[in-house]
């Protein structure tokens, strides 16, 4: 299937609002931070992706990213190696809009999930900071309790 698999986000850059960029970089190892306990995310895109998931989980409304000054963190080609991420983003788009046809409009999908990321980023940053331990433990415990709330 690999040869036929296609990544609709291939040509689209992933952006975050400028105000969050420092935090995204600070908590990611690709931001140049070696101490895992302080910077739990392997890559900036993992931070961004978790923000999307958290926002969707909490059923937050996507923000309108076009109203923000943004900064690129990476281009969409990154998903070329992870088909499940592409599928997940597409399902989120379908779930949020209720419209299956949205899958043919990559930019619209990206605008939607990026809007979710903007809504989710402050939540994840809060998770990292809230607690007495290092960010990795604070975040782990927050995700743990979020997963246990089955009702969402």
């Amino acid at each position: 299937m690999a040869d036929r698999y296609f990544n609709p986000f291939q040509a689209i850059d992933i952006h975050v609002p400028v105000e969050f960029h420092d935090s995204v970089s600070r908590y990611s190892q690709t931001g140049g931070n070696a101490v895992i306990d302080q910077s739990p995310f392997p890559r900036m895109v993992d931070f961004w992706f978790l923000a999307v998931c958290v926002a969707a989980r909490l059923d937050l409304d996507p923000e309108d990213i076009s109203r923000y000054a943004t900064k690129k963190i990476i281009d969409g080609a990154i998903f070329g190696s992870d088909p499940w991420r592409v599928h997940t983003l597409m399902l989120i788009a379908i779930g949020k809009t209720g419209d299956v046809e949205i899958v043919s409009e990559p930019r619209k999908m990206m605008a939607l999930v990026s809007g979710l990321a903007v809504a989710g980023l402050p939540k994840v940053i809060e998770m990292l900071k809230e607690g007495d331990a290092e960010p990795i433990w604070n975040l782990s415990d927050a995700i743990d309790s979020l997963l246990r709330k089955r009702a969402a």
Partner: protein, 709 residues
């Protein structure tokens, strides 16, 4: 004599130290609180150097460096070393039938310069003595003689004692003759028997003169021959006696070295094997490295929890389920083909259909079936873009909606793994630090080298022993020959005209000699008895409260042969090493020292390092109390451990207390950074009851974390 104060500059660890001692008759005790390696032994040396010069230093000061070992060159290449001691003398004078007490104060200053290089060459020290009075200080002539009168150098060991070394008066690992000689020397010099010894030498010389006269008395050739021979014998005997004394002294010196080396060897062995510790340390280091690697891997796995699929799909479970339901709906409506191109393509390549029918090209029916499948593929390829994406998504995203809990399970495992590794790592770290401390505490001893040194010392010692016994034999035969010749000599003299007068002179010298000898023996015997009795009383009082020892010890004495002996029930002689515990051995030597000082009626200080080591509880307190009572001035160097349990006694008896600190003990034993790593003893006025930032120490649990096993 009582010590008032002392000041030292650049004397080894004592770069600049001042000490005050109590002279209050109601507060006779001075306590200098100091941990080991905080300059106690150095102060003992410095005090003795001030009073007696290089002769009082180890090895008579030969090769014994005095300047601080970390002296830095910019401070000068010649180090000025000074030691100052002020003391008080009480004299009694009969004035108009009344005994008047007079106190005078004196100051001794000794100074020397030492080169800062490997040779550590030192100028001969100069010593000056001043009498202190209201108008100032007036110098006193021949200060050495003055000090020798007030604190006889033979008694250095009695006035300045190291609790451990003092045991050498009784310890079994020194030769009997060495102990005997030490006790004898101490007693004789304290009792002033030196004067009688001098007189006896005088009389001997007078007898020799008589001999010479006899030679000139007449023409009798035989008489002249005998007189010459007697003269020769006396000369020879004198030489032999000097050689014997020298051999005995050498024997004692080497015996002491053998014993000292033994102590070093057993201390080194007791503390453990350095090589083994090093290996253990290496092993601990490797273990820590492995744990660190495992911890790093566990951290990476922890981090991977935030990029793995489960975190997304399990967080998104409700969202994904809803969206996928929509795709299922389309599929049920037939809007998503059941097959996909890759699946069909695979079938064609595999030449077998999903239903099991063969799809071999060229075979009957098969070509037809292959054509049908190829048509399905072509239809799919023709489907519009949306259809294609949705189909792809429908099949690709099928596994994404989930009810699993695998993220929580994985997280739990990682927490356990990290916690477990962390605990192991902490243990490993503690173990490593404990080993490091243990290794640091080890003296850099080369046990092999010590054994070799011991062998050589022992060889030397034994050589001097056999030398002295051969000299003794020669002396004995000379003495016999002399006796025989003497009988003949007197007979021949009687036959001479002038012989009677010479004979009378000879008899007089012999009588005087006998009188002196018996006085010498009597004083020795009587005073010995006094010292012995007082020692016994003090000793029994010190250990009286120890039920364990009380049951086996009856009395202690100094025998006529100058052996310190302890007796048990039925007058059985006990072996101090085997039958006495550490506290009793210490009590016995302290009792001897105190008794000796007291019987001599010399008012003198007792400066003792580590007097209470190896003692505890009631015995420790009784030992301290008795020592305070029996001494004229008691200056004790005590460790924190020795002080423990004796605080109230010190409250009552101490007129001066201070604390010494070695800043290089930071951070291992000291709590606060002294701000300087210079090797230098610092003093603070903290007492046995308090401490300050300078002297505050870590508790045992801080410095010796439990070994994880």
């Amino acid at each position: 004599m009582k010590l008032l104060c002392a000041e030292f500059q650049n004397f080894r660890l004592l770069r600049d130290l001042e000490l005050r001692f109590s002279v209050d008759p109601h507060k006779k005790l001075t306590v200098i609180r100091a941990a080991n390696e905080s300059g106690k032994t150095t102060i003992l040396h410095a005090l003795q150097w001030a009073l007696y010069g290089d002769a009082a230093l180890p090895g008579k000061g030969d090769g014994f460096r005095l300047h601080p070992i970390d002296w830095s060159a910019p401070d000068g290449k010649r180090v000025p070393i000074t030691a100052m001691v002020e003391f008080e003398l009480t004299t009694y004078r009969q004035i108009g039938g009344e005994l008047r007490e007079a106190r005078r104060r004196y100051r001794i200053v000794r100074a020397a310069f030492e080169e800062v290089d490997a040779t550590a060459r030192r100028t001969a020290s100069t010593m000056r003595l001043f009498a202190l009075n209201d108008s100032g200080a007036s110098p006193i002539e021949s200060p050495e003689a003055f000090v020798n009168d007030e604190l006889p150098p033979e008694l250095r060991e009695v006035f300045f004692t190291d609790g451990d070394r003092a045991l050498s008066f009784i310890e079994a690992d020194v030769a009997q003759s060495t102990k005997r000689e030490r006790v004898q020397r101490a007693i004789r010099s304290l009792l002033g028997l030196g004067v009688i010894e001098q007189a006896m030498k005088h009389v001997q010389k007078a007898a020799a003169d008589v001999n010479r006269k006899a030679k000139q008395v007449g023409a009798n050739a035989e008489l002249r021959n005998i007189a010459s021979r007697l003269e020769e014998i006396d000369k020879e005997s004198g030489k032999f006696e000097a050689a014997l004394a020298d051999a005995k002294q050498q024997f004692a010196a080497f015996d002491e070295k053998v014993e000292e080396t033994d102590r070093k060897i057993s201390a080194a062995l007791q503390k453990g094997d350095k090589e083994k510790l090093r290996k253990d340390l290496e092993h601990a280091k490797r273990e820590i490295k492995q744990l660190d690697d495992q911890l790093a891997a566990a951290n990476k796995e922890h981090s991977a929890l935030f990029r793995n699929r489960e975190v997304a799909t399990e967080l998104l479970a409700p969202v994904l389920r809803r969206a996928y339901d929509k795709l299922e709906e389309l599929h049920d409506q037939g809007k998503i083909p059941n097959t996909t191109i890759p699946v069909l393509q695979n079938r064609l390549t595999a030449e077998i259909c999903i239903c099991g029918e063969p799809l071999v090209p060229g075979e009957p029916d098969c070509d037809e079936r292959r054509a049908h499948i190829q048509k399905l593929i072509d239809d799919s390829l023709r489907a519009d873009e949306i259809q294609e994406i949705i189909t792809d998504l429908y099949y690709g995203a099928k596994p994404l909606p989930t009810d699993g809990n695998s993220w929580l399970d994985e997280y739990k495992k990682i927490v356990e793994r990290r916690d477990g590794l962390k605990a192991l790592r902490d243990d490993g770290g503690r173990k490593f630090r404990a080993l490091e401390i243990e290794l640091d505490a080890l003296p850099d001893t080369d046990v092999q080298g010590l054994r070799e040194a011991r062998r050589q010392y022992k060889e030397q010692r034994d050589r001097h022993l056999s030398k002295s016994s051969s000299i003794e034999t020669q002396l004995l035969s000379l003495r016999r020959e002399r006796e025989g010749l003497n009988v003949e000599f007197e007979r021949l003299l009687r036959e001479q005209k002038k012989g009677a007068r010479i004979l009378a002179e000879l008899e007089v010298t012999q009588d005087v000699s006998r009188v002196l000898q018996s006085a010498y023996d009597r004083i020795t015997k009587e005073e010995l008895r006094k010292v012995s009795d007082l020692m016994n009383r003090i000793f029994l009082e010190m250990i009286g409260a120890d039920p364990e020892q009380g049951a086996i010890i009856r009395r202690a004495e100094i025998s006529a042969e100058f052996d310190i002996k302890v007796h048990g029930p039925n007058d059985r002689t006990l072996n101090p090493d085997r039958d006495l515990n550490g506290a009793s051995r210490r009590a016995l030597t302290l009792a001897f020292i105190l008794a000796l000082t007291k019987v001599s009626e010399v008012e003198a200080p007792n400066v003792i390092d580590t007097p209470l080591g190896m003692t505890s509880g009631y015995v420790k307190r009784s030992l301290l109390r008795t020592a305070i009572r029996e001494s004229a001035q008691l200056i004790l160097f005590l460790t924190h451990d020795e002080i423990a349990g004796c605080e109230e006694i010190i409250d009552d008896a101490a007129g001066a207390i201070c604390t010494l600190t070695n800043p290089t003990h930071y951070p291992k034993m000291l709590l606060n950074d002294p701000g300087s790593a210079e090797r230098k003893v610092l003093r603070c006025s903290c007492t046995h009851r308090n401490d300050c930032p300078q002297c505050q120490r870590r508790t045992d649990s801080d410095i010796r974390p439990e070994m994880a096993s």
